[in-house]
């Protein structure tokens, strides 16, 4: 057994700062916008019907105000999707995977391969049209600690999955 025990200085511990991240596939923005569009389509039709029938019996200026409020909300939500998309990035190191996201509420996750329980690749109906998929990585830390990276090209996701699972089993042999 090759047993070594060299001293590690605190400054030699690899840092997660200054790592080069890869963004998600550009098509995934389209997927997100379609999903958001569908959501607003349903909400919008519902709102128009409700306000037009005037269920709450409100004055005309209040109806306009409600419309304007909804439109501003919609614009903000689309803007957040577009700008938030650029914030979603991932990086792979020899022994872990890093994912960050969030424009307003920021999130940064590091998941070491030697704690991975299993990984799977999923594909939703809209994902399929654009040949995208999501990579889901499970640890024993409970469901809130599972990592999901959406918006990966199917082949990339599968390669990542194989890489991670290979690293996981590789570490066990050591």
């Amino acid at each position: 057994m090759d047993f070594t025990n060299e001293q590690i200085k605190p400054e030699d511990i690899p840092s997660v700062q200054n790592i080069e991240f890869s963004g998600l596939d550009q098509n995934y923005l389209t997927v997100e916008l379609i999903a958001k569009g569908l959501f607003w389509l349903v909400l919008g039709i519902g709102a128009i019907v409700f306000i037009y029938i005037n269920v709450w019996d409100i004055a005309q200026w209040q109806q306009y105000a409600l419309f304007i409020f909804l439109i501003i909300w919609m614009v903000i939500s689309f803007a957040l999707t577009v700008f938030g998309f650029r914030k979603k990035k991932y990086a792979l190191r020899e022994r872990d995977i890093i994912y960050q996201s969030g424009l307003i509420w920021r999130n940064f996750t590091v998941l070491p391969f030697n704690r991975v329980q299993h990984a799977e690749v999923q594909q939703g109906p809209i994902d399929r049209i654009f040949e995208l998929s999501r990579l889901k990585i499970y640890t024993a830390g409970g469901s809130s600690s599972d990592l999901v990276i959406a918006g990966l090209p199917l082949e990339r996701a599968q390669n990542l999955k194989h890489f991670i699972l290979h690293q996981t089993s590789g570490n066990e042999e050591e």
Binding site: I8, P10, I13, P14, S15, V16, Q17, R95, D96, G102, I104, W105, R106, N107, F108, T109, V110, L111, P112, F113, N114, R115, Q117, T139, A140, G141, G142, S144, S145, L147, N171, E174
Partner: protein, 497 residues
Amino acid sequence: MKKSDVFSLPQRQSKFAIIFIILRLVKNLFKQLWPFVIAIFIGRGNSSFDTLEIALSGVGIFGIIPSVISYYKFYFQLSEKELIINKGLFKKVKLNIPFERIQSVNFRQTFIHRFFKVTEVEIETAGSSEQETKIDAIEIPMAELLRKRILEKKEAVDLKGNEEIGILDIQQEKESILQLSQRELIKVGLVQNHFRPIGLMIGAFGSLFFYLYTFDYDPRDFFKQIYNYGEQLTVLNISALILLLIIASVVFSIITTVFRHFNLHFWRMGNKFQVVQGLLTRQEFAALDNKIQILNWGQNPFERLVGFYNIIFRQAKSGDEKKTVSQFKIPGCNLDHVSFVKEAWLGKDSGSFEEYHQVSHHYFFHKAMYQCLFFGGIIIGLIYFKMIIGPIVLGVLLALILWLSWINYRKKRFAVNDRELYIGGGTLGLRHALLPMYKVQDIKIIENPYQWRRGLATLIIHTAAGTIRIPYIPKETALDILDKLIYHVEISNKPWI
């Protein structure tokens, strides 16, 4: 044949196991059919016997026969390498559990077990696919012999596999840590968290009212009676009522404590901690060193008064498809017990830190801001509607909540050394957590807008037995701790479970 070799042949459980099999059947049936059972009880009196009742008893009798047969189909035996269990009535099941996968053998005795002088045996295994294995009832001497044989054989197998490393000392000697006498037990009961029984009592009153409603009794009459009484409410009456509530909750705490922790014995054996306790149900817990993820110790406000500590072992429970967490609590300890446990678990000098850090004062400010906004909004609204008493009560409540948040912030601290992470805090009580770095599953750093404008972040550490948060620390510090933790996880090849 020697008696010690008795397990090389298939063994049946004690005859009394049939009782437990039937009890389990009844329990399961009741779980499925309780609406029918209740319907029958309520419908009583109208008709003496109806089809539903007959059908139910039919199901019951029909269920008992397979249960009895399943007892005769259950065998266990020990081979050189594994524990073999054969069971199953229609679907034959053969379980082979290699000794090296067995983590511990625990006994559990309900009062029915104790009456018949038998015990349930639970075999805990490592690994995520294996189901938890249970033997319903065997005679106690037999159970003890079984446990001894399994541990002996496990040791032999483990030794063979580890010849190179050479495990030197596997003497399974019991080292007693704590034994609670009757008097100490009462004392432990006295200092339990009495807020919980008070909450339970309020819940019980709530369900009583609901119950009254379902029986066409108007609870308002009940209120009226209380109100009549209330007209005579004096300071004396109110204090008597409060005193009564306090006494009731203390008595409740003492009774539950005695039932749970009666004759508590806590000891260290080999590489695990074990505890036996309980009045009616005698329960045994074991925590193997490598299965413990987080060690908690602390005091509730009452325990602080008498200097008691409680220790909680938080382990990841394997042997179950669901990733459940199991934990057990040892009350009535002192600081020596805590440091003994720390040292036995993680070695000498564990849990010693050069420097303890506080979280940022913004942790308090940000929380206080929301509390003020929420209560302030309501108070202003009430003043607008010309109310006086409401705003005063809410103002006092707000002051109290702010004060508690302040204490909570002042008490929160964390520390890092080369191997472990510590986080402590509390509001009225105190709770400490110690976590070896290599047990970490994954780490998150989150920032809300308030935080990132001030260069702060919250560090979230997931382990297999729960989550640890270090809120509102400088982002630099969070990243440093993250780097260090990840490094220790990635160079470690110790089993974390």
